[in-house]
């Protein structure tokens, strides 16, 4: 068994992961938009920073000034988290040679990030590619020993920095680099509303998936561990809350629904309105794609969640 797991800092999630993540491996946090991927990833870095580790956030989706403002709503002290601004510049569509990004941008602390967006240089935008990003990460890691890294998002990295023809090999090599560096990595992945398994989830050592859906009472949030190599883990969908202090996962839900089969669950009130479900994908489909039982309006406990098709991933101890 692996003893010293890395705590994610999300109450409840560490229980689901039987203590945390295995150090030195790369994991994916996936979910549709607005499910809390960035918040979860930031909470993971904050946990490291609090115990004096060096941690770095690689920002690709959003400019760091906005990330800082957004995280300000949680009242977290993210000043000691380091950040690398990997957002692409405004393109100028000229044929003029562009300068290499490594001479222009450095890893800084969040406390150094101002309120304004970084302006693309008047001269020429800098060129950012996957290989320059890898080079910068290598240099940084050699100079300073980081224990945690977040790449937000891997989806943007694919869309904006990786050529489609080389997508799979480039992604494999990026994961390889992270494991060579010995850093525990969380990479966020944006899913479409109906998703099929994609390459990053296959390559990652684990996949923490965030869900949201409507039921009779309003917006519900859930979390599952879809995959976790080398460790046993909680197979069930747990409810999750995003409050003013961060993400909180409820792991104490009664076991009584465990026995109810899916067939008994199906003929719920109003189900005749529902069109046919999509064909099942190879892996366990995300719960929002399943028929949700229509909830009565009383305050029923969160144990009313539909049982998730259990993906047996009990690989037990390490290799």
């Amino acid at each position: 068994m692996i003893k010293d797991k890395v705590k994610t800092g999300v109450p409840g999630l560490d229980d689901m992961l039987e203590g945390g993540l295995i150090p030195g491996r790369a994991y994916v946090v996936s979910g549709t938009s607005g499910t809390g991927k960035t918040s979860l990833a930031m909470q993971f870095l904050l946990e490291g920073a609090r115990s004096g580790e060096r941690v770095v956030y690689v920002s690709i989706d959003e400019p760091p000034n906005e990330v800082k403002q957004n995280m300000g709503t949680f009242g977290w002290d993210i000043g000691r988290i380091q950040v690398f601004d990997a957002t692409p510049d405004v393109m100028n569509y000229d044929k003029t040679p562009v300068r290499d990004v490594s001479t222009e941008r450095k890893v800084v602390y969040f406390s150094d990030i101002g309120p304004e967006i970084r302006q693309t240089s008047d001269r020429n935008p800098v060129d950012m590619t996957i290989s320059t990003l890898q080079e910068i990460l290598k240099q940084e890691m050699r100079a300073r020993k980081y224990s945690r890294i977040v790449v937000d998002s891997l989806t943007s990295l694919r869309y904006f920095y990786i050529k489609t023809s080389e997508e799979n090999t480039t992604l494999m090599s990026f994961f390889r680099l992270l494991s060579d560096l010995g850093v525990t990595a969380l990479l966020t992945v944006q899913l479409p509303e109906i998703s099929k398994p994609d390459v990053e989830v296959h390559v990652a050592r684990g996949d923490i998936r965030l869900h949201k859906w409507f039921d009779g009472r309003g917006l519900m949030r859930g979390i599952t561990v879809e995959k976790y190599r080398g460790s046993s883990h909680d197979n069930r969908l747990r409810t999750m809350k995003i409050s003013s202090v961060g993400i909180d996962v409820k792991t104490q839900s009664p076991e009584k629904r465990e026995e109810v089969s899916e067939e008994e669950e199906q003929p719920v009130e109003g189900s005749t309105d529902l069109p046919d479900p999509p064909p099942p994908s190879d892996e366990a489909p995300a719960p929002p794609a399943e028929p949700m039982p229509v909830q009565p309006n009383d305050q029923s406990p969160p144990a009313e969640l539909p049982p998730k098709p259990v993906e047996q991933h009990k690989e037990g101890g390490g290799i």
Partner: protein, 276 residues
Amino acid sequence: MKPSTDERVSTGIPGIDDMLKGGLISGRPYVVSGTTGSGKTILAVQFLHQGVKQGERALLVAIDEPPQEIRENVRALGWDVGKIRILDVHPAAKAYSKRVSVVEVAAQRSVGSLRDAGPSAKTEAMKAASPDVSVQSLQLMLKQELHEIKYSRVVIDSLTSLKKLSESMGDTNSSIMSLLRYLSESGVTSLIITDLPDPTELEPEMFICRGEIRLHKRMVANRIDRCVTIEKLRGSPHDPMPRPMNISDTGISVDSKKKIPKASLRMLQAFTQYGR
């Protein structure tokens, strides 16, 4: 100095501002999505109208419809939209003659106010040259326009059409990222209008944008039933529930206190769970 998300931009629709807990966060790009006829353009014009009422500069980038048609459509709502400026990038009938380069296009496109939207000699002459409209050329046009006038609100109507026009232009994903980045760097709060996203596909604007307002339209018991949801809003709490929406002759109104009927909610659940 504490950076904050307190500086909010009113959408011009009080109910939607309530759902957004005050409005949109200034200087960020947002998506407005919905099926045809769900009210996207009206919402966008209302957003621009709110800006000019407050003395701001507002720009409508018209791609789907020619400006004079937009003008006629919104005039029915009785708004004084004359101060909204409009960038006409509605593609003309192709002449298949001499092509002009992207940069020349940027120099040629004319901006007029919505009041005097109509065929002008200049636009006609320019359209005869039949330049390509694309995400790239739009960014260059906007750069020129924003260089002269400091806009605080911009609407792109619609990105879906613009992407279709840009299909031959290569790396559209990076160009969209660049366009939205450009708007952010210019300090503009922007609304990007798109069709309802295909639930099995991930469009880059959907994960780059800092929020999404989605308009829904369905037939419930022989009448059109409208509602609005906030699908995403970075850096702010927001109303997670769908709220009923109405389009009347004074524009869009949303009741942020009212729940939508049970039957509609159930259809919406099915809708979001199974795709369209």
